[in-house]
Structures are given as structure tokens and as C-alpha cells.
Amino acid sequence: MAVELSILLPIFLILSVIIAFSIGANDETFSGIYGSRILNMKQILILAVIFAIAGALILGEAVSKTVGKGIISDMSYSIVITILISTSIWLILSSAFGLPISTTHATIGAVIGLGIAINASLDWSKIIELSIWWVLSPIIGYIVTFIVFKLLQSYKQKHLNGFQSYEKAEQRFSYIVLIIICITAFSRSGNDCSNAVGIVVGIGEIQINLLLLITGLSLAGGLVVLGRGVIKSVGTITELHPSTAFSAQIPTAAILFLGTYLGIPLSGSHMLVASFVGLSKASRTPVRKGLWKVVLIWFLTFPMAGLLAILIYFPVAAII
């Protein structure tokens, strides 16, 4: 067993790094800050790196997840690793094209694909429930942002008068958006790290803080290398400025938080993209060309992650 562990541990560590990197690469949290030009890309990446590492170190320890729990019975190591590898590959691929996808949906796609391939018993009622939320997430994001924008617009018309008052209001919004997005990035990093750390914890004796630091750095690495493309792509879906970024990102974050609290698997990425589309509709500003690619990748996420999981599972099962 000792020999097995000495081989497994470095492999799992590398996997953990890849997973954290892929999650960081597809993190669009700061897109509103970029789109509204509150900060430039360099400043955003510095902040994102700080919060990725801080979130991993401070919050990461408290969480340890079992991926796919509740959908597939009998979760072995080879299954967990397959799911994580296929999800990571799909995340990295879509990030390379600057396209935001839902990590949760990629994971679920892999779980379903794998479940079908190995003939494991799948909880179809759970899958249907997840699919419903998969469709509802962008709709909720769209509607909520539309309403919040209209309310904000009516407030502006009633209370703001002259360049200076608009400027003052926008400055306030920029502070609010910045603070809330930093908190989101911090908590998201802690949560995302648990996905990467989860597979290593329990394998052998390892300094948890060192592990969290490694995954935090990998998360930050993903953000810097590929994440900037995703941030840029999502942040330029429509014309943004601090108050409109507020009306898109803050309700989305609040609903996401509520969803997490109530155990509803909403997709942050889908909600945010749909929020920006809702915003463009409400403010009558055009949507950037090429949005169809984002929608296409959402539809491809389920089957592609499943297919990847099937392809990866057998070699992984043979090794482990």
C-alpha cells in the first residue's frame, strides 16, 4: 500500500494542479469589471491572482467535495479521476477559445457519459432536475437583470441631473461592484479549490496548506494564461459601465448565493452571460457578434464532457 501511495500521490497532485488550472482558466467573475473599464486587464489579473490564492488558503481547507455525488452510485477513484480529467480538458478547450461554460454542467455531462458507458445506475430524476436548472439559469439571469436595469434607469431619471451627478453615482457603483466581485472571487476560489484538493485529500499524508497553496497558484495560473480571454469575451458581450455591470452582476451573484444556500444547482456562467444579453435588450445596446459560439458550446458541453469521460475512463481504470 505504501508503494502504491508513493506512485499515486504525485499523479494526483499533478491532476489537482490541472483541475485547478482549468477552473481558473474558465473563471469569468471579473468580466463586469473589465467590460465597464473599472480596472484594466493587468489590474484585474493582479486582483484575481491575489483573491485566488487567498481564497484557496483561507477557505479551501474547510471544503472537501465528492464530485458527482448523488447522481452515480459507487464512486471509485478511477471514476472520480475520469470525471475530473474530462471536465478539465473540456474547460481548457473552451477557455482557449475564450468561451465561458458551466463547470457543474461539464462535470455532470462527464458523470452521465461515464454512467452510461460502465452501465452504472444513474439517478435520472436528479439528472432531469439538473437539466431543468440548466435551462432556467440563463432565463433567470436574463429576467432579473432586465428588471434591475429598468429600476435603476427609473432611479437615474428621477434623481440624477448633470454630468457630475452621473459621474458620482457611477463611481459609487464601481466601488460596490469591485468589492462584491472581489468577495465573489475570494469565495469562488475557496470553493473551486475544493474540487481540485478533494481528490488528493485522503490519498496520503500531505501538508494541506501546501496543497492549497499549490492549487491556489494553479487557479491563478489558469486565470492569467487563459482566463483573460474568457474575461474579455464575456465582458464585451455588450456595452458596460459600472451601474450596468452592477445591474447584471450583483443580482446574479445574489441569486447564485441563494441557489447555493437552497441547494439549487444554478450555473453562474450561464446566468452571467444571459444577464449581459438581458442588459443589452433593456438598454437597447447591441450584443457583440459571435454570441452563438457561447450558446453552441453550452449545448456541446454535456455530450462532449460525456464522450471525453468515456474515452478517458478505460485507460485510467487500467492504471488505477
Binding site: 473599464r37 473599472i38 434607469q153 437615474k156 431619471q157 440624477l160 441631473n161 448633470g162 454630468f163 457630475q164 451627478s165 452621473y166 459621474e167 457611477e170 463611481q171 457603483f173 464601481s174 459601465h241 459600472p242 451601474s243 450596468t244 438598454s283 437597447r284
Partner: protein, 215 residues
């Protein structure tokens, strides 16, 4: 917080200095045209218009520099302010251009157009003053600025009528030297162009008043 307030004041002061210089150029040209109407021409006064335009350029550069250095929360406000600077600068440039034209204008004004020339000159000054006032109001009071734009529109209509009254008188002078007729006609045309430009700027400001609450 105090530092941010100071930065804001610096920007507003730079804007104020630029507007003042644009206005000074207009008032100097206005003064010279009035002198021309009364037959008292002093080329030194035209030189003052040229100097005022150069001063306005320097103030403009300073304003733009502060505008871009200052990290404003509203990028489109920076862009709109920049457009406004460019438009006002065009008025200042046109004043200088007319001043230079008047410097080489070799004739006296016809007696029968002097009243209308005075009228169009008054309208020109009034319009630029109203525009600068509107630009200042844009900072704090959209509603009053919006009302001001209608005033500018009325002034443009007056200027147009006066321009054609002058041209009507001039073009009837068949026996006069064609060069004198042509060059004299250019003065009300140029003055009207500046009034018209000012009205276009007020239209642009009106579009901003509509745009901001919907952003």
C-alpha cells in the same frame, strides 16, 4: 477623498479656462466687427483674436491632458467631453479664420447692410455665449441646459434670416465690383456658419441629455 475632490476641481478649472478663452476670442471678434461696421478698423484687435485662439489651443491641450490622466468612472463621459472640446475648438478656429480673412479684407462695408451686419454679429456673440453657458450647465443641470438649446435654435433661425437679408442686399448690387460683392458676402456667411455650428453642438448636447438617463 479630499484628493479625489481636488482632482475633480482641477478638471473643472481646466474646462472653465478653456471655455473662457473660446468666449474671449468670440468677444474680441465681435468687437472688431462692430468697429468695422462703424468704420474704425484696428488690425491689432484682429491679432488679439488670433492670440486668443492660440491661448484656447493651449488651454484645450491642458484640459485634454487632465481628462485622460484622470481615471474617471465613466469612460463615455470622457469621450463625450472630448468630443465637446473638439467642437468648441472648431468654433474658436473659425473665429480665428474670420479674423484673418478680415485682416486682408480690402473694402469698407456697404452702408445699407450695416444694420443687418450688426444684428448677425450680435446673434453670433449671443449664440456662442449661450452655448458656453449650456456646456457649463451640462455639468450640474440637464433640465436648464435642455431649455437653453431651444434658445440657441431660435438664435440660429434669426441668424439665417439676417444672413439672407444681407445677401439679398449685396447680390442686388449689379454695378458694384464683383470682388467686393463676393468678399463682403463671405462675412455674414462665415458668421452664420459659426452660429450654425454652435446650434449643431447644442443638438449634440441635447442628445447627451437624452442618452445619459437611458444608459
Amino acid at each position: 477623498m479630499k484628493f479625489r475632490q481636488d482632482k475633480k476641481n482641477i478638471l473643472l478649472e481646466a474646462a472653465e479656462a478653456f471655455h473662457k478663452e473660446v468666449l474671449r476670442g468670440t468677444q474680441l471678434l465681435y468687437g472688431y466687427i462692430n468697429d468695422l461696421i462703424e468704420g474704425k478698423r484696428d488690425p491689432a484687435n484682429l491679432e488679439k483674436v488670433v492670440i486668443a485662439e492660440h491661448e484656447a489651443d493651449l488651454k484645450k491641450e491642458r484640459y485634454i491632458e487632465i481628462l485622460y490622466k484622470d481615471k474617471r468612472a465613466l469612460p463615455f463621459l470622457v469621450e463625450d467631453r472630448y468630443r465637446l472640446i473638439k467642437y468648441l475648438d472648431a468654433i474658436s478656429d473659425n473665429s480665428e479664420d474670420l479674423a484673418r480673412r478680415l485682416k486682408v479684407f480690402p473694402f469698407e462695408l456697404y452702408e445699407d447692410i450695416k444694420d443687418d451686419m450688426k444684428k448677425i454679429n450680435d446673434t453670433y456673440r449671443e449664440t456662442v455665449e449661450a452655448l458656453v453657458e449650456m456646456v457649463k450647465l451640462m455639468e450640474t443641470d440637464f433640465k436648464t441646459a435642455y431649455q437653453k438649446s431651444f434658445n440657441i435654435e431660435t438664435l440660429k433661425r434669426t441668424a439665417r434670416e439676417t444672413k439672407y437679408d444681407i445677401l439679398d442686399t449685396i447680390y442686388k448690387k449689379k454695378d458694384e465690383k464683383s470682388l467686393r460683392v463676393y468678399l463682403t458676402s463671405k462675412i455674414p456667411i462665415k458668421l452664420f456658419d459659426m452660429v450654425s455650428r454652435a446650434e449643431e453642438i447644442s443638438d449634440f448636447l441635447r442628445s447627451l441629455i437624452i442618452k445619459y438617463p437611458s444608459k
